[in-house]
């Protein structure tokens, strides 16, 4: 775990830097993916930019609205650089809505666009894993296995290493599949379904799961739902692809 890197007088938060680095590298791969799919790269890069801005604004706005009592007398405090006053869920929602509005206005084809982003998402997931490793978040359940990691007062599953390994594997699969994807949406939905399956599997080794219904890890329920939707979506798109082919 190396949450803070001291560089002279600067205390750099490594987990955050890894995420920023991940976003940067992920956006670099977009141009190539756009070319492969006869999409223009500019709107895709704009989409990411608009999604990020919308996400950041939405995350802060969501947090402020949920804690409006705390802000009433000190409204300028809304403009703080502190990342702890952001609501992740609201940010994701706002970022997605902003990106969706932009995509619609620019008439971007939904599934092809999502496919173009998939290698970037797969790459970014690897960085999320390393960010967890640096911060010690997403830590594992205690275990006596020989490869246990001494962390947070116990010998634990190195859940962050499992996460990185799964992300690397998925990135390799996506890198192969993108060359042979048979219809628009195949790459994206396969990635989503496989990610969900991976989360359902790996969540079992986590030591910080949220528990619902007296023992079920909530992330697994969410993962199973996403997996089911992904598999169903693949079926629908595969059927559509045949119809489109028959029509043309």
């Amino acid at each position: 775990m190396l949450p803070i890197v001291n560089l002279g007088p600067l205390a750099l938060p490594l987990p955050g830097l890894l995420l920023i680095g991940g976003v940067w590298l992920a956006t670099l791969t977009i141009d190539r993916e756009a070319g492969r799919r006869q999409l223009s790269a500019n709107p895709l890069n704009n989409l990411v930019f608009i999604g990020l801005i919308g996400g950041i604004l939405g995350a802060r706005l969501g947090y402020v609205l949920r804690h409006i009592d705390a802000y009433v007398n000190v409204l300028p405090d809304v403009f703080s650089l502190n990342t702890s006053t952001m609501s992740l869920g609201d940010g994701l929602l706002a970022g997605s809505i902003a990106a969706l509005i932009y995509a619609q206005r620019r008439d971007l084809p939904l599934w092809t666009t999502l496919d173009a982003f998939t290698p970037s998402l797969a790459l970014f997931s690897i960085f999320v894993g390393f960010s967890h490793l640096a911060s010690g978040d997403a830590y594992g359940a205690p275990t006596s296995l020989p490869w246990a990691l001494q962390l947070w007062g116990a010998a634990r599953h190195p859940s962050q290493v499992y996460e990185i390994a799964a992300a690397l594997l998925l990135f390799c699969i996506v890198s192969r599949l993108k060359l042979v994807a048979p219809f628009p949406g195949f790459l994206f939905l396969t990635f989503i379904a496989a990610s969900a399956a991976g989360r359902v599997f790996l969540e079992a080794f986590r030591g910080d799961s949220e528990i619902v219904f007296g023992g079920v890890r909530s992330v697994q329920l969410l993962g199973l739902t996403v997996l089911l939707l992904g598999l169903f979506g693949l079926h629908l798109l595969a059927k559509d692809a045949r119809t489109m082919k028959a029509e043309s």
Binding site: P3, A11, A141, W152, S209, G214, R217, Q220, L234
Partner: protein
């Protein structure tokens, strides 16, 4: 790979075979989810005292500016904001008025703001002078031996820990300065939960 793709698309289109495949995958997933069920007690990190969100706040006992001793376990049952600071640290100085305002606003609701001066790398005289200059009235304690800095793995100043009435660290914010709204929003959540 191309060969596989030629076979996978008809497979995906075939409602019966794809449904069977989906059912199998879901069955495995549900079985795994069932097998990995845990109780709240198993998953909770209770009992382990480390300076990390979700774990017990490491205990300490220090003497304070007004001469009394303060220990963290004695404050169980109340929401505690532990702020590690030093008088030579500009962001620490900058956030002190916000901490004072927080203390004044919520002291009646059983909030404890506890400043822990890193006296082992500061000086008690400087700390006292600084507290007087800003008119700080919340308790200021002195970590003369570096005991708290060690048990909290202090990496940067200021470091702020939000401890719930059960003694569990709920939020850690390394660095600052924290503004009033940030402090209030976190503390209000914890106070509301404690009611």
């Amino acid at each position: 790979m191309h060969f596989t793709m030629q076979r996978i698309v008809p497979f995906m289109r075939d409602r019966k075979r794809w449904t069977a495949f989906t059912a199998l995958v879901m069955l495995l997933g549900v079985a795994w989810t069932g097998a990995s069920m845990v109780s709240d007690a198993e998953i909770s990190s209770a009992g382990i005292a480390i300076p990390q969100e979700g774990f017990l706040a490491p205990d300490f006992e220090l003497d304070t500016l007004d001469g009394a001793a303060v220990s963290l376990t004695a404050l169980r049952g109340r929401v505690v904001v532990v702020n590690l600071w030093a008088s030579w640290c500009p962001p620490c100085r900058a956030e002190m008025p916000a901490l004072q305002a927080l203390y004044e606003e919520f002291a009646a609701q059983d909030l404890v703001v506890l400043g822990v001066n890193m006296t082992y790398q500061d000086s008690a005289a400087e700390a006292i002078a600084f507290a007087g200059e800003l008119g700080l009235t919340f308790p200021i304690s002195f970590d003369r031996s570096g005991e708290v800095a060690r048990s909290y793995g202090m990496r940067a100043l200021p470091s702020t820990y939000f401890v719930d009435p059960g003694g569990v660290i709920r939020r850690v914010i390394i660095g600052g300065p924290l503004n009033e709204a940030t402090l209030r929003s976190i503390v209000m959540d914890l106070l509301e939960e404690a009611q």
